[in-house]
Assembly symmetry: C2
Homo-oligomer: 241 residues x 2
């Protein structure tokens, strides 16, 4: 990291109600009045790729809504190896540990430029008491995180290497905006996410490039041909069965 890129800004009055992800985010459950009450405590943060949002084991003092970008969750094994267990994208809630007063379970790191809103614990506690609809929204998000973690296990950590890479491409595509080029992780990161060697990831991505499934454009960016991607996956699934 050459320079400190985290930017911090208070959220100006009325900003939450105009938020670009509000419809899909935690605060979608709140009415204008509640929104106004908690907003002063909410601040906006920005992280550059590779920056840590919070650390494993740290006391959790806030939850965050992801407004833009992709966040990865990392653990470190007893042997000292990094393991990525999940991704979170736009609209996701991260750091829910703070709601139940538990230390953060893993490290959250920005994969792409990330913008998020930090909601401090007192505000969450306040809303929990006075806004039952927010509680329901909180639980929905917990369930989403759980299903994402389980999908990660079954899609990205099982099966032959080629299928795992294809599944990863499908996932980053979902996290990106339609039409826009999506985030294509560096090969070494792919390796950590999928539990394979950097070279294996590179070989497979190269093959997929030749097949026209991915078309890298710029740094860590690529266009993905959704049709070819589906086709490649279907073919694998068919011959496996």
């Amino acid at each position: 990291m050459l320079m400190k890129v985290t930017r911090i800004a208070p959220v100006e009055l009325g900003a939450c109600s105009r938020c670009e992800v509000r419809a899909h985010a935690l605060f979608s459950a709140l009415d204008a009045r509640s929104l106004e009450r908690v907003q002063p405590a909410v601040i906006s943060l920005a992280f550059a790729p590779g920056e840590t949002i919070y650390r494993h084991g740290a006391e959790s003092a806030a939850v965050f809504t992801v407004r833009e970008g992709i966040v990865r969750f990392e653990k470190v094994t007893e042997a000292g190896e990094r393991r990525i267990v999940r991704l979170a994208g736009r609209g996701a809630l991260i750091g829910q540990e703070a709601v139940v007063h538990r230390p953060y379970a893993e490290e959250a790191v920005a994969c792409t430029p990330v913008r998020l809103c930090r909601i401090p614990h007192p505000s969450i506690a306040d809303l929990q008491r006075n806004e039952p609809s927010l509680v329901r929204e909180l639980m929905r998000r917990w369930q989403c995180a759980l299903e994402a973690a389980e999908d990660w296990t079954s899609d990205l950590k099982s099966g032959p290497a080629r299928r795992r890479v294809l599944k990863l491409l499908a996932l980053v595509r979902e996290h990106g905006a339609a039409g826009e080029p999506v985030w294509l992780p560096p090969r070494h990161e792919m390796g950590v996410m999928l539990g394979m060697a950097t070279e294996t990831a590179s070989r497979i991505v190269s093959a997929l490039r030749r097949e026209g499934v991915v078309a890298p454009c710029g740094i860590e960016r690529a266009h993905i041909d959704a049709g070819l991607l589906r086709g490649a996956l279907d073919r694998l699934d068919r011959e496996a069965a």
Copy 2:
């Protein structure tokens, strides 16, 4: 399945307050009065190994507290392969999807003889309105499930086969009572859980038996030497680093 073994029984008056897992279960948050109100709707269920508790995609009408036994969560891939994504043991809450009105995300199957309490959705909704402490307890359990799923990814689906088997043994040991023989999954189930061939699982378990780490006793049961288990894991971790 030779016979239908599911047993159903209403929970008699006052039973919940005497429940053997209550201190660690969802209802630990409730006082005697609330307990009395919801108890009539709670029923006790029993499942034999291999029986399905609920199915993937089914409309969720109840949550369950595991009073005894081990439950596994299965998904099926597009290629038709089974994938196990998590275990739940005594004291765990399963089927939380019902709290947020979502269909069950995966299939829940009994690994060992399982006894659980079924709490129907209306009761949960009632308590949610009137017992804030239960809401907090619900969220704590969601976080536990999330961390269990993430641990599954990093411990049981990554790294060399031998380490994954050792980690699985450590996990089933946690789920069992101290001193008692623990559940030792059939080799084929181990393969599905750990993403390896049945024969590989068998070879590794055989080796661990020769090393004295596991001592099978009876059908799907074994004693585990905690010290040797730790030692074997530490040795792997040390030479990996």
